[in-house]
Amino acid sequence: MRMPIAVIVALLLLAGAGVVQAAHDRAYPAVEIEDAPIYIASPVALRRLTEGFNGMAADLYWIRAIQYYGGTKRRLDALAQSPEPPAALADKSDYQHLYELLDITTSLDPRFDIAYRFGATFLAETYPSGPGRPDLAIALLEKGLRERPEKWQYLQDIGYIYYWYLTDYRRAAEYFERASDVPGAPNWLRPLAATTRAQGGDRRMSRAMWLSILESADVDWLRVQAERRLLQLRALDDIDALQARVDQYAARTGERVSGWNALVAARVLRGVPRDPAGTPYELTGDGKVRLSERSSLFPLPNEPLKLTPAP
């Protein structure tokens, strides 16, 4: 066979193989993510199995964890955007393997810092952005602390979770204090503990805490978190202010307000109000202002969709 023909044939064969593989992947999606935790239920056994390559195995599982989390989140986000009824989102088992994957990752490499911190963030996220399991998030961070008790960042992270997701201000303050006791911890942790203990769920205090975190954050994701929280707090403020105006108007005119147009027409508002992320606020049929589910800031803390501590 002449050279150019042979090269073309070879490339066609490779392309053909690719096509077949694509069809195969479509018809038989890989289920190994499910299988792996089932088969090697004991992370300790897995660790012995990959002896010598633990670091690489940990990296592999971390990447799988991210892909699992990211893929599931994207899928649920897409569902939320579509005109499907919210009932489809009621089943919360989509993230069921996330903890297992993170557990394996951190067993293979007990000093895998971002696996602990990011992992906890993923775990604590309210459904549908995450499994909504702050208890598991705390368990993961506690595991990290057993390996490295000097990590004040983990203590601080646990404090946030108590504060933000579980609204247990006493515990949150405890952890902030423990964190501040670790040598090398930043000096704003102690006042933070104090104010948390004193004022609990005060929005102003929250804002102050997040501002201080924003200023001192050394990791990108922490900064992003802080910015997001601050925007959410502003949204809460907005909603309070808007609600006040709506109620005022309703009281004045005796009408039931069900849309922004009436208010805009009455010059109460200049235009349809938007949240800090740019999505318009919604006005329910019974006159309540709320954040749109489509907004990137959804869900706000203190929303009805707030979850209860897992069993």
């Binding site: 070879a10 890989a30 592999l60 892909q67």
Partner: protein
């Protein structure tokens, strides 16, 4: 074509005489020893473990045979100069290559065939005296014919790895060929993770590279259905079909490239 067949038979004869098939003895000993040792566990567990062990051993032994004979197919002949008298005969270079590949595949078939028989023999022994009611409760029966599906895909994967070894041996020394083949085999096992990389990488260039690599590198993970079979989960004929087709196309690709390289090189 007769010439190609003669070359294939010769490769088989060489492997047999080179005591390659002694690995079967080792396999048999391993199987028997393991079944004796774990016969203490509750019935059901030992069957599963023997299946896992048997399939894994088939994979690993087969892999070593595929690589070490595969690289010897050409590299060793070139190094020892036995290829000179062979190429003086009225045989085209590609016929030589295809013949050698066929010979090694034949060796693998025989090897795996014998190992299959041994595995089933051990399973018969383990199932002795176990009541049918108890066996029903297991994930899969002891003498599960579905095991043959897993073994079939192991064989297909080995045929692919052999083709990879053949390709490297057409232009590289035996040691390098072995290293490259093992390396590519390991990477191929984790090709699905390569696809996952896409979701994790930020830059679109890196994503394209990851995606490109995923399509070009051999995807060996799909041939590993050991877990599913042992747990009694179904594997459809369609799955086997597309996996086989993929392997056939990829092997053809490797053989064409091997023939191209081999036909053009100088034998110093």
């Amino acid at each position: 074509m007769k010439a190609t067949g003669a070359i294939a038979i010769n490769v088989f004869r060489e492997s047999v005489r080179d005591k390659v098939l002694y690995n079967l003895v080792f396999f048999a000993i391993l199987m028997m020893g393991a079944s004796y040792l774990i016969g203490q566990l509750t019935a059901g567990q030992d069957v599963k473990i023997i299946k896992d062990l048997g399939l894994a051993a088939m994979s690993i032994f087969g892999l070593f045979i595929a690589v070490f004979i595969g690289i010897g197919l050409v590299s060793k002949e070139v190094e020892r100069r036995s290829i000179y008298s062979l190429l003086a005969k009225p045989v085209r270079r590609w016929q030589l290559l295809v013949g050698k590949y066929a010979g090694l595949v034949l060796t693998l078939v025989v090897n795996i065939g014998v190992m299959t028989v041994a595995l089933y023999a051990v399973l018969v022994y383990l199932r002795w005296g176990v009541s049918p009611a108890v066996e029903k409760a297991w994930d899969a029966p002891a003498l599960d014919p579905a095991l043959l599906k897993a073994i079939y895909l192991i064989f297909v994967e080995l045929a692919l790895v052999t083709a990879i070894a053949l390709l490297f041996s057409t232009f590289s020394t035996p040691i390098l060929s072995a290293a490259f083949t093992f390396g590519l085999t390991i990477v191929g096992q984790y090709s699905t993770d390569l696809r996952n990389f896409q979701d994790v990488l930020d830059s679109p260039v890196a994503q394209q590279i990851a995606r490109g690599l995923y399509w070009v590198l051999p995807n060996l993970g799909q041939f590993d259905i050991k877990l599913r079979i042992v747990h009694g989960l179904p594997v459809s004929a369609g799955y086997l079909g597309t996996a086989t087709l993929y392997a056939a196309l990829y092997i053809a690709f490797l053989l064409v490239v091997s023939a191209l390289v081999f036909s053009r090189r100088d034998f110093k």
